[in-house]
């Protein structure tokens, strides 16, 4: 037997459920999952890793689109899968497509911000795609498979 240094895979998964607190943190009012939302941004916005929370600046605007976007269906609990003495992946993906129904979004947009509306709208991730406009139609984002290699959000050690 030998010992091997590594972050524990269980820890990766527990980061996704706010189990550990290394510093000051928000008081969680409930043990249930937070509510996550998805907002869309025009192509001239600057959405990237520096975003800390939802912003209405350069968010799309149009018929049947509500500022702040739509609520994400979250039926998947985070998973943590260990693959070796040093490697593991924690991952999570929304459990349904994100759909904006019967919207007219005339200004070209190319990104979506996923954020936590329960925790002061704090940002999770920005995803980009080919620029789109929508006229009296639906815009939908279908999620990748919720797995160790393709899940929408992955934390990993190797």
């Amino acid at each position: 037997m030998a010992n091997t240094q590594s972050l524990c895979t269980s820890f990766l998964g527990e980061l996704m459920t706010a189990t550990h607190n290394f510093g000051a943190s928000p008081i969680r009012a409930a043990s249930t999952a937070d509510t996550f939302k998805a907002s869309l941004y025009i192509t001239t916005a600057t959405m990237n890793a520096s975003i800390t929370a939802y912003t209405a600046t350069n968010e799309v605007n149009g018929t049947n689109y509500t500022a702040g976007g739509v609520t994400i269906t979250n039926g998947n609990i985070p998973n943590a899968t260990n693959s070796s003495a040093t490697a593991g992946v924690a991952y999570w993906t929304p459990s349904a497509s994100i759909v904006y129904t019967n919207v007219t979004l005339s200004t070209s947009f190319d990104s979506v911000l996923i954020y936590n509306s329960t925790q002061s709208n704090k940002a999770v991730a920005v995803y980009t795609f080919t620029a789109q406009v929508i006229s009296a139609g639906d815009f939908s984002l279908t999620m990748p498979t919720n797995s160790t290699t393709t899940a929408l959000v992955r934390l990993s050690t190797t």
Binding site: Q5, S6, L12, F129, I134, S135, G137, L141, R154
Partner: protein, 63 residues
């Protein structure tokens, strides 16, 4: 078939339909447009994300 347009529901026989797609490492996207004369009256798009965001974490060596 009735199509939702900026002018309300219209029969698709009155409209010109255009479709397209984008397939790359990041996404597979399809879109459909309906045109009335030279005016775009309906456009929908469906994006399937392929790429996840990946963050690698490491434990530093002690000593």
């Amino acid at each position: 078939m009735l199509v939702n347009t900026i002018h309300g529901k219209m029969d698709d026989s009155l409209l010109v339909k255009k479709e397209g797609s984008v397939d790359n490492d990041n996404e597979f996207t399809t879109w459909v447009e309906y045109w009335l004369d030279d005016k775009l009256v309906h456009r929908s798009a469906h994006v399937t994300l392929k790429t996840s965001l990946f963050t690698q974490l490491e434990a530093a060596e002690i000593g």
